[in-house]
Subunit: 394 residues, 2 copies
C-alpha cells in the first residue's frame, strides 16, 4: 500500500459530536511540540486545571483532563471508586447508562438498575426507591445529558438524594459541559466526567474530570489497588500535581491536543459560561421553530430537552433514513447523527454544540434537510422552516 | 484566573520523547475535523492500519493505534491477555519492566521476575531458566528497547524461547518502532505496543499495537471479561473493523491526532523503513564521536546501545545535573532527558529519534553541552567534539 497525505473535506458537524472545531483551536493544535515535563508546559497544565474548574463550576483541586476519550474518563471514575463487592445504583435512560452498568460489573461491583423509557429523564422518585431498598449502596450513577436521546436529568435533585442516603455520585456530563447549566459544587456532584468534542468544540481524545473531596477520600481509603494502572488516580494525581508534593512522571501527556483544549477553554472564558449557555438555548429555539414548521416532531418532551442535542423523529415517507444522511453528507457536507442502539431508524440527532451552535449552521441544516426530505418523498411542510427560524434568530 | 492563548517556545527535543515533530505533521493536526464515522475518515483509518503494518513489519490483521498514550497500549496488552491466576515471566532491566510487573498484578496474574542490572540487556539464558522453572507460565513479557537506560534486548531470541515453552510474548517497542530494526512477523512477537512520540516523531497520545493470530485466539478463548471496557479488544476490534463484520461504535476516535499519525507514517513510508533505521544509526555514530571526543562515556555497553537513545554518564565536576539541563533549556531551547528511577543523577538521556535525528541537532547539542559543561566546571575535553562529529557526518 502506498499512502499520500490525507486531506479531509470540510464538513459542517451537527451530529452528536465531534462538533465543528473553532479555527483558533485547529491552529493551536499545530503549535510547536514541547516536552511534557518542560516548566512552560507544566505552567500551561496549571492553567488548564483552572479553566476546567471554571467550566465545571467547581473548586475541586482534583480537576484535570484524562489523556484519553470520554470512555476512559468514565472508566477512571468507576475504576477508582468501585471496589469488588460494592453496590452501585445505576440509572439508565439510554446507551450511556448501559455502559455504566458494564463498568460497574467489570470493576467487580454489583449494579442495581433503575431503568426508564429512552427519551425520558431519570425519575428521582424511582432512584430514591432503589436507594432505600439498597442501604448498602455506595454510589448513585447517572447520566446528566443522555447523548443517545437528548434527554436531560435533574442532577441537583439526584445528587441531593444520594447524599441523603450517604452515597457518592458518578455523573456523565459528556454532552452537558459547556452547553447547558452544570454546577458541580452547587449541586454537590462527586465524580464527574466529560468529553472535549461536544460543547467545548475541541477535538476528541481528552476527557475532563473532576472529583470532590469526598470522592478523593473514598479513593484514598480503598483497601484494594485500582485495577487500571493507566487510570489510577493515586498515580495520575502525582503527575498533575493535584496530590501535593513534587510532580512525578506517570505517562506522556498528549501535548498538542492539550494546546487545543487550553484554547477551547480560553474561548469559553472569553464568551462567559452563562452567555454560552444562553447561546445554545437561543440556537435551539431557532432550530426548533424551523423543525416544527416543517411538521417534524421532537422525540423528547419539551421540559427535558437538551438544547445542544435535538432528537427529531424520522417522518413518514422515509424508509431509508441512512440515505438521507448520506445525501446530506455528500451534497451539503453536512453531518447529522443517526439513532444509537434501540433508537436506530427512529430518530436523527441534530447537534448544536459549541462552535456549531450558530445561525449559519441552523439555516444550512434546515435548508438542506427540507430539500433532501421533500425530494425523497417525506411527509413534510415546505417553504416555512427558514422564515420560522429567522424569526427566532431576530 | 484569566487565561490567554498559549504560545509555546520552539524547543529542540533531544530527550527520551517527545521528539521534534515534523512540520508536515503539525500542519496535518490542524486540518478540518470530520466525524469519526464519516466514510472518508473510515478510509483514512484503513490506511493507518496498513501503514502501521509496514512500520511493525507484520501482516497481523489486528494492528491499530489505541486512542491513548503508550501506557494504555501496554495495559491493553496485559488486560486482554492476562487472566486472574495466570503466570507471567517478566524480564526487567529498567523502569518499564517494573511497570509490566504492576500490570500483571493488577490483572490478577502472578509475575515471575527475571531481573538484570539496569543498562544491561535481558539475558536470554536467565529468561529460559525462569520458563523452565515455571512450566505453568502463559506469557513472557519484556522490553525491546528500554527507554530508561537505552539498552536493547534480543527480541528474536526471546520470542523463540517463549514459543519453545508454549508461551505468548508481550513486547514493549515504545522506543524501537521506526528507530531501529523491529520485525514483528519474522521474530514471531505476539502482543506488541509502542508510542507515537518517539521515532515516529508524531505528537504523544496514541499507542500503535499489533496482535498475532495466536494472541487473538487467546483473547477470544478467555473465560472472564476483560476488566477494562475502554481497552477490551473484543469491542475495539469491532470499531476498527478488525474482527470482520460491520464497524460498530465503541468510542470517539481522536480524529486530528490520527491525521498526525497518518502523516507521520506516510513520511516513514516515503523515506523507507531501512533508510530510517540507517539514518538513526549514522546520526548515533556522529553523536557518539562527539560525546567521546569530549571525554564523556556511554552508560550502556556498545553492542547493546540503542542508536535513538544515548545514555551518557554525568561527568566528574557536575554536582547539580538539573542545573545543566535547565541552562540547556533556557539558553539553547534544547531539551535532553534526566535519568529515570534509580538512574536519576547518574546519566543524561540524549534522544536521536525520528525527525530529531539530524545533523543540525547533533551539532547544536554537542556545542551547547560542551559550552555549558565547561562553564560549570565539568572535567571534559573541549574543542574536539564538533570536528569529531563532522568527520562522521561526512
Amino acid at each position: 500500500m502506498t499512502a499520500n497525505s490525507f486531506h479531509p473535506p470540510e464538513r459542517t458537524l451537527m451530529g452528536p459530536g465531534p462538533s465543528d472545531v473553532h479555527p483558533r483551536i485547529l491552529e493551536a493544535l499545530s503549535r510547536p511540540t514541547i516536552g511534557h515535563l518542560d516548566p512552560v508546559f507544566v505552567g500551561m497544565m496549571e492553567e488548564v486545571k483552572g479553566l476546567l474548574q471554571y467550566a465545571f463550576q467547581t473548586e475541586n483541586a482534583l480537576t484535570l483532563p484524562v489523556s484519553a476519550p470520554g470512555s476512559a474518563g468514565m472508566e477512571m471514575c468507576f475504576a477508582n471508586l468501585v471496589e469488588p463487592g460494592d453496590t452501585v445504583v445505576v440509572c439508565k435512560n439510554g446507551v450511556f447508562g448501559e455502559r455504566m452498568k458494564e463498568n460497574v460489573e467489570r470493576c467487580g461491583g454489583t449494579p442495581v438498575m433503575v431503568e426508564e423509557e429512552w427519551g425520558a429523564p431519570v425519575d428521582p422518585a424511582r432512584a430514591e426507591e432503589a436507594l432505600k431498598a439498597h442501604p448498602e449502596a455506595k454510589i448513585l450513577a447517572f447520566v446528566h445529558a443522555e447523548t443517545s436521546t437528548g434527554a436531560q436529568s435533574d442532577a441537583a435533585t439526584l445528587a441531593k438524594l444520594a447524599r441523603d442516603h450517604d452515597c457518592l455520585t458518578i455523573v456523565d456530563t459528556v454532552t452537558s459541559l459547556g452547553g447547558s447549566p452544570l454546577k458541580v459544587d452547587e449541586w454537590g456532584l462527586d465524580a464527574v466526567y466529560s468529553g472535549t468534542q461536544k460543547c467545548l468544540s475541541c477535538v476528541p481524545g481528552l476527557s475532563p474530570v473532576t472529583f470532590s473531596q469526598r470522592a478523593v477520600d473514598a479513593i484514598q481509603a480503598r483497601s484494594t489497588k485500582v485495577q487500571s494502572w493507566f487510570l489510577d488516580l493515586n498515580l495520575v494525581m502525582g503527575y498533575w500535581g493535584s496530590g501535593g508534593g513534587k510532580r512525578a512522571y506517570h505517562h506522556t501527556a498528549p501535548i498538542n491536543p492539550l494546546y487545543g483544549l487550553h484554547e477551547a477553554l480560553t474561548i469559553l472564558q472569553e464568551e462567559g459560561l452563562e452567555n454560552t449557555w444562553d447561546r445554545h438555548q437561543r440556537m435551539h429555539e431557532a432550530l426548533k421553530a424551523g423543525i416544527e414548521a416543517m411538521g417534524l416532531s421532537f422525540f423528547v418532551e419539551e421540559p427535558h430537552r437538551l438544547p445542544q442535542l435535538n432528537s427529531v423523529t424520522i417522518p413518514a415517507g422515509i424508509d431509508d433514513e441512512a440515505a438521507v444522511r448520506t445525501r446530506l453528507l455528500e451534497q451539503y457536507n453536512l453531518e447529522i447523527g443517526a439513532g444509537l442502539g434501540s433508537m436506530a431508524g427512529k430518530i436523527w440527532r441534530i447537534g448544536l454544540m459549541g462552535h456549531s451552535a450558530n445561525p449559519t449552521n441552523i439555516l444550512n441544516c434546515l435548508g438542506a434537510l427540507e430539500g433532501v426530505l421533500s425530494d425523497m418523498g417525506a411527509d413534510i411542510t415546505t417553504g416555512k422552516a427558514i422564515s420560522a427560524a429567522m424569526a427566532k434568530l431576530g
